[in-house]
């Protein structure tokens, strides 16, 4: 059986990444010499560089120095209070963003071609519901427009927002409560509301969070609870109830499948509190019964025929509710009155679903599952049980706290394991391109902004999505309710690798570029090849990379000339400038662009 990372580290002194090991060469910005990788793994970057690579989408110029100056703990606390961070530059970019919308005339609407601002982001469900209903008649480009605007806003925030931890957590929760945003028009139209729910609770209280998600129009449609109603004999629709247990709360490690007798399931104790040891299929069915009648005001012909029953908002429709007592996560134990485990509220049957949320959100299994996922997100594919347990303790102690999630995340970020782990995660495709765009201070252009190349029709966002989607990571684009995988074994594959290698070029240079990057103007091109690579290494990584990678990049930039001199044209055997550079001044720009792209293609740039 394979070694886990920890057991391997524990058994091999030569490979330890502990900061005290003699074999580890420490790299700091004050000592930006590339590491001599004689017989060891590369040095572990300083904590401020780890922070920018794992609790942000990579460093922008100055970020690493800033964290070093203010101190890591202060930075964590700053990031955990995103509303106190001035994000006006990002806000301005969101306001200035334009996303083209273009369609031909159809029945009931005229042709349109405009570069429109992100006008749906702050709209309410009832304001957006006409798009879902197709009233007045409109093309699908209009109906699905709101979710496209959220995709654009997410890219802009990833690259420019100073609330980087908040953006990472928003992405984490979007994947945890995954919805494919263009699944249908009801979801596509109301997706800005769903994004605001995620953002409202990303650092908040999980119990409030899971219920807000469960009541949302988008989740109601994605997992079909919108049509979950009493049915003679057969189930209503168990899709949502099943994924609530398996993906949103307890996780499949706590799935015990079928049991004939509840006595046989057993209980788990945590700090004196008793919980069902896991969930069984009967829990799924009974929870789905509790949620019968939880639906959306969508003009269903069984609802009253008035406008306020077709506004896209949540409501409980008692006619659809399955009566009777239900057992969910019931505990059979001598100290528990089993009669009290039944869920039934005839006076207010909506409370049965609320009781299910109480049960799953307070369960120890939920704490373990989600804390494990958070550690996997921020530390390692295979985080230590010790750190997970510490996070679980904070989670359980703060189940009623309004800032429960912030407290848990703080515990994880300030753990020894966070500070002492490097390279136990890789960048997924979007993390890779976002970190590149941040490091090179890319400018994302509003659609309609002309660029030099006549082949570029200035439809920049469509170009960005069509070029980045084939990497496999798509904002709100994962079809299954699991969300994007968060382990390297999925992402380390030839397709994702090839797509990631090409993306910096395809986004910024092909056809004049959909994203504007000017490396040459940021570079002192009269300094030596060595110094130029060192400059960009500090920008792109924030720490010193491996010597073989560094040397290869220097040699590439020199193209056979001295590495201690500025880049020169390639020379022939008589020392005369020759192809492909000759005397064409643009060779410097192309050489630099190619070198920085290679830096982005290097194995070093993949590690987090």
């Amino acid at each position: 059986m394979a070694l886990s990372r920890r057991t391997f580290l524990g058994s091999s002194a030569a490979l330890t990444v502990a900061a005290t090991a003699a074999s580890v060469a420490h790299a700091t910005l004050g000592d930006p010499q590339p590491v001599e990788a004689a017989c060891s793994v590369f040095g572990q970057p300083p904590l401020e560089a780890i922070a920018m690579n794992r609790m942000a989408y990579g460093p922008r110029p100055g970020d690493v120095e800033r964290v070093k100056t203010m101190g890591f703990t202060a930075y964590v606390d700053e990031q955990l209070n995103p509303n106190n961070i001035d994000d006006s530059d990002c806000d301005r970019r969101l306001n200035e963003a334009r996303l083209r919308i273009q369609y031909d005339a159809g029945t009931g609407y005229a042709a349109l071609n405009e570069n429109r601002a992100l006008t749906s982001l702050s709209k309410t469900t009832s304001q957006l519901w006409g798009l879902a209903r197709n009233v007045p008649p409109m093309p699908s480009q209009e109906r699905m427009r709101p979710q496209s605007e959220v995709r654009v806003a997410t890219w802009i925030r990833a690259i420019y927002s100073k609330r980087q931890l908040f953006e990472l957590l928003t992405e984490f929760w979007h994947n945890h409560f995954n919805i494919k945003s263009d699944n249908n028009e009801q979801i596509g139209a109301t997706f800005p509301v769903y994004d605001r729910i995620i953002r409202q609770h990303a650092l908040g209280n999980f119990r409030q969070f899971v219920e807000a998600v469960g009541r949302s129009t988008a989740m109601m449609y994605y997992l079909n609870n919108v049509t979950n109603k009493v049915a003679g004999g057969e189930g209503g629709n168990e899709n949502y109830a099943r994924e609530l247990f398996e993906l949103h709360t307890l996780g499949s490690d706590h799935y015990l499948r079928f049991y004939d007798q509840r006595d046989e399931i057993g209980v788990t104790e945590y700090n004196g509190e008793l919980f069902a040891r896991g969930y069984i299929d009967q829990d799924v069915y009974n929870a789905s019964f509790c949620f019968t009648g939880w639906t959306i005001r969508n003009g269903n012909r069984e609802f009253p025929a008035t406008a306020d029953y077709n506004n896209g908002e949540f409501f409980f429709f008692e006619n659809w509710h399955q009566g009777g007592a239900k057992l969910v996560l019931a505990r059979k134990h001598p100290s528990i009155d089993f009669e009290r485990e039944f869920i039934e509220d005839r006076a207010n049957p909506e409370n049965e679903g609320i009781k299910v949320f109480d049960l799953v959100a307070r369960h120890i299994g939920t704490a373990r599952y989600i804390c494990g996922k958070l550690c996997r997100r921020f530390i390692a594919d295979d985080p230590s049980q010790e750190t997970i347990d510490a996070a679980v303790a904070v989670w359980m102690a703060n189940r009623d706290a309004p800032d429960q999630i912030a407290k848990v995340v703080r515990t994880i970020l300030l753990s020894d394991e966070f500070a002492n782990t490097w390279g136990a995660k890789i960048k997924r495709p979007l993390e890779l391109i976002w970190s590149y765009l941040r490091a090179v201070e890319a400018e994302l252009l509003p659609d309609g902004t002309a660029v030099a190349d006549q082949n570029n029709d200035s439809n920049h966002w469509a170009e960005i999505f069509s070029r980045s989607d084939p990497g496999g990571q798509r904002v709100f684009g994962w079809a299954a309710p699991t969300g994007h995988p968060d382990v390297a074994s999925y992402w380390a594959n030839t397709n994702s690798m090839m797509q990631s290698w090409n993306l910096p070029y395809l986004l910024t240079l092909a056809n004049g570029g959909s994203v504007q990057v000017d490396l040459l103007s940021k570079t002192n091109i009269n300094s030596s090849c060595y110094e130029i690579v060192r400059f960009w290494m500090n920008r792109m990584f924030g720490y010193a990379i491996s010597r073989p990678t560094f040397d290869e990049l220097v040699n590439f930039l020199a193209q056979g000339n001295s590495v201690d001199a500025p880049p020169q044209p390639r020379k022939d055997s008589q020392g005369r400038p020759t192809v492909p550079d000759g005397t064409d001044a643009n060779y410097l720009r192309d050489r630099l662009n190619a070198m920085v792209q290679l830096m982005c293609m290097s194995p070093d740039f993949r590690w987090r």
Binding site: G472, N493, P580
Partner: protein, 474 residues
């Protein structure tokens, strides 16, 4: 010979050779010991993700229980969307008239009547899970009940016949490789072969051969990239990078261009059709392709399943599946004798329809095997009926999916190491059904841990948990 080993042995610098030390010897040894176990047949795994409703593909339409439980989802037997008559040609099944085939499966019916396609009903994962993701994990890792097995069953098959040789032995047409391929260095996830290349500033990326107009066309970036990802790299990122470069060069050398399918085959629009066409194109490049995987998702039909008219959701999914498989099989005419395609899903769906005109997660399902050596035109296994249900609600399983795959693995792919490929399976639960023709490659090896040392010397760490680069012989 494996291109990576050849390049490593021939191209590595003295410095790398010195650093690699003992590993070089080990590689050379592995090279000499390379086996030619297995056959050069092509295996294509089509996975229908989400739980395909086999009871709406091959439906027990005259069964009163099916009629009562499926209510408004019952396949029509009259009118424009009348289903196709179907004969299981198996005395252990109910006779003609009991089953019908979905009308949109007409292209499959053609292959069935030509004896190229076999169905196995009431088949699947013999584990009670109703979780998509657990079920897929169990199936693809080949270990029902255990989702921690560090590698996939196809990977173990490849490892145990040394089939990572060949220039491009494995192709995954998805954006990433599926779990069944976890744990082998061989898979190349390639969306489309013709676009698998490096894009960069042309001045330093122009491709060989150089000519008078572009005398500098030396692919400087690709060469630099090869040095950034030396064959001696041991981390998973370096290994995958090396594999990516090899794949880029292979496809470049094969001059992969636009593709015109053979025999007038027309693939359906969409990712499934283009994935199958990529596989056909790659097979015809003769790069030694042995295994290809392709996914078709969207089968989780909890709501408005749409089985009763041609425009319903499920009808359109079956249409895409059936036309895709038919086009692929037509396109691959010249390769039928060495081609086997298996189609399966993680589970079937609940017998009883739910309140949303859909079906929730169920159990037993239909599996399909297609190929030139398939004893088609027949249903295999046995039909358990609808009176005696799994958990009192779902179609029972009478054939373990591993039995179907085992027959293909032994009799078509020439690998007898079933104990290693499907740990936990024994002679007692393997009775071949005769789905494919061919003989077993000697006695079945039921040892879960056969001596594969010679074969696995070039494998990456079974679990990709170590990402930092390291050298093993300091």
């Amino acid at each position: 010979m494996d291109i990576s080993r050849r390049q490593f042995l021939m191209g590595c610098s003295a410095a790398i050779a010195a650093m690699a030390g003992g590993r070089l010897t080990q590689l050379a040894f592995a090279d000499q010991a390379e086996l030619t176990a297995g056959t050069d047949e092509i295996f294509v795994m089509v996975f229908l993700r989400g739980g395909m409703d086999g009871l709406s593909l091959l439906a027990p339409v005259s069964d009163a229980i099916y009629q009562a439980k499926r209510r408004r989802l019952v396949l029509p037997t009259t009118g424009d969307f009348s289903s196709l008559p179907f004969n299981p040609n198996n005395p252990t099944y109910p006779g003609a008239g009991y089953f019908v085939l979905n009308q949109k499966a007409s292209p499959l019916n053609e292959l069935y009547s030509q004896g190229q396609l076999a169905f196995i009903h009431a088949c699947g994962l013999d584990n009670s899970t109703r979780s998509h993701f657990d079920a897929m994990d169990y199936i693809e890792r080949g270990t029902p009940g255990n989702k921690l097995t560090p590698n996939g069953w196809i990977a173990r098959h490849l490892n145990s016949v040394g089939a990572n040789s060949g220039v491009l032995p494995v192709l995954s047409t998805n954006t990433a490789a599926p779990t069944s391929l976890l744990g082998t260095s061989a898979p190349a996830a390639v969306g489309s072969p013709r676009s698998f290349a490096i894009n960069g500033p042309a001045r330093y990326n122009r491709r060989e051969p150089a000519n008078t107009r572009y005398p500098w066309a030396d692919q400087a970036m690709l060469k630099s990239l090869e040095r950034l990802y030396p064959a001696s790299g041991k981390s998973n990122i370096e290994k995958v990078g090396t594999r990516t470069i090899e794949t880029i060069k292979t496809i470049q050398a094969a001059s992969v261009g636009n593709y015109t399918p053979s025999n007038g085959a027309v693939y359906p629009a969409g990712s499934f059709g283009s994935a199958l066409s990529s596989i056909a194109q790659t097979v015809k490049l003769e790069l030694g392709l042995r295994v290809a995987t392709v996914d078709l998702g969207g089968w989780d039909t909890h709501e408005n399943q749409g089985t009763t008219d041609a425009f319903g959701y499920f009808s359109r999914k079956i249409d895409e599946l059936a036309r895709g498989l038919h086009a692929f099989y037509t396109d691959m005419l010249a390769y039928h004798e060495k081609l086997t395609v298996v189609v399966m899903s993680e589970f079937g769906r609940r017998l009883g329809a739910n309140a949303s005109e859909g079906t929730d997660h169920g159990h037993g399902n239909v599996m399909m095997v297609l190929g030139g050596n398939v004893n088609g035109g027949k249903c295999y296994g046995s039909w358990p009926g609808l009176l005696d249900l799994d958990q009192d609600q779902d179609l029972k399983i009478t054939t373990d999916y591993r039995v179907v795959l085992s027959e293909v693995i032994t009799r078509r792919l020439g690998n007898n190491k079933l104990g290693y490929i499907f740990p936990g399976m024994t002679a007692a639960n393997y009775t071949p059904l005769g789905i494919v023709s061919g003989a077993d490659p000697g006695p079945i090896d039921w040892d879960p841990e056969p001596d594969l040392a010679r074969l696995n010397s070039d494998q990456p760490d079974a679990e990709y948990r170590l990402f930092l680069p390291m050298l093993s012989n300091c």
